[in-house]
Each structure stands twice: as C-alpha cells, then as structure tokens.
Symmetry: C2
Subunit: 125 residues, 2 copies
C-alpha cells in the first residue's frame, strides 16, 4: 500500500489549480496532469472510481469491486494500482480485506482546471 513509501505523483502537487483558460500550462504541469487524466482514460477505471466514490462510507472493499466487471481479478488490481499511483485513490489493508477511498483533493484539482471560460450557460446574468 502507499503507506510505506513511494509517494504517489499527486501528493507533490505544486501549482496549477486555476482554470486552464487563464494561462497556458507549463511543460511540467502538463506532464503531471496528463498522468492523472490518463488514469481516468479507461472505462473500467472510471467506473471503479465512481463505484468507490459513491459507495456508502466513502470507501469500498476490493471484493465488492470485482463483481460488477467482466474482467479478471488481476486486471482490477492493476487498474486500482494505476488509480492509486495517479493520486486519485488511496487504500489500506484491514485484516483480510483491502479498502479503497477517493482522494478528493486530486479530483478537485482536476475539476478546477477544467472550469470552462465563462459562457452564456454558466453566467446567465
């Protein structure tokens, strides 16, 4: 688990939380952010993330995350690892089971970045 070392990418998040319509992304920020979006670029991972995020208690056991999919258990495990290394989720072992939860700060950062430039639909004022 990420407890014992190998700080995930997002934890070091330095700058860039403003909408990207404000100013162009630097190369470094773009590289880091693209790794997070890459983690979201697979339908299985997107569903995994939403399953975890919407699960009661804010966390889900891996054993509950395998049934909904048509892919093998190692594949689910791989996808969870990708999400974890992108800083989107974290996990902890409790006895026999491993629980995953969403890291809201990372989601919030990406969400803020995509804030669209104001158009007729947001600011209907």
């Amino acid at each position: 688990m990420s407890k014992q070392g190998g700080l995930p990418l997002a934890e070091q998040g330095t700058s860039c939380c403003a909408p990207m319509a404000r100013e162009p992304l630097g190369e470094d920020d773009a590289a880091e952010l693209s790794r997070m979006f890459k983690a979201l670029s697979d339908p299985v991972r997107l569903r995994l993330l939403s399953l975890i995020a919407s699960h009661e208690g804010g966390e889900a056991c891996v054993c509950e995350l395998i049934g909904p999919f048509d892919v093998s258990q190692p594949t689910i495990s791989h996808h969870l690892k990708v999400l974890r290394e992108a800083g989107l989720v974290d996990c902890e072992r409790r006895g026999t089971w491993v629980y995953y939860w969403v890291l809201p700060a990372t989601l919030a950062r990406l969400s803020a970045l995509l804030q669209a430039p104001a158009t007729a639909m947001e600011v209907s004022a």
Copy 2:
C-alpha cells in the same frame, strides 16, 4: 472540419453531468467519458488545449500552436484532430488559416463530473 459531418462524440452527450460521487457510472457513460479523458491524457494535447483556451479572443490559429512544441507539424495536426473528435474543441478555416476554439460545455461537463465529494476544504463553513 467538423462542419460537414461526422458529429463528434461529445455532441451527443445524453446524460451524466452530476458528480460521480453521487452514483456509479453506467457502462455507456463510462465509455464515452473515458474517450474524452483520453484526449486529455497527453501532455502535448493538454498544453494545446490550454493555449487555445487562454488565447485572446478565445481562439487560436494553428500556425500559433506549432512553435511552442518540439514535435512536428503533422503531430500537432493529429493532436488537434483528437481534441476535436473528443468534442473538446472545434475549428473553422478562414482563408489560408484554420482557427481552433474550446467548446466550454464539454469542459464544464467533465469538471462537474469530478466535483469531489464535500470535504473540509471546499465547505469550510
């Protein structure tokens, strides 16, 4: 250009604009959204998008989008096509030049999806 047919993916956007923490994504929504995030999963495309979004007038000529990168012109053209097919930008030819602009509705949809479940940092009330 996307004017004359082949409706881009995002244009058909049916549902899913609520934060994914609310309820799990369906398979179809996940597939469609993952294609949009895939378009954001490359550092060059992310920088292209931010260059376009932050450009004065809200649009940028392709000729202004090549200089900032170390990759070839065909590669930039390819990335712009990916962004366009994901419904993130659209373009139009005006005389010799082609101009690209961001489609804010698509960005807004992704941004809303990533709205993090409320934590201490957003709702500090």
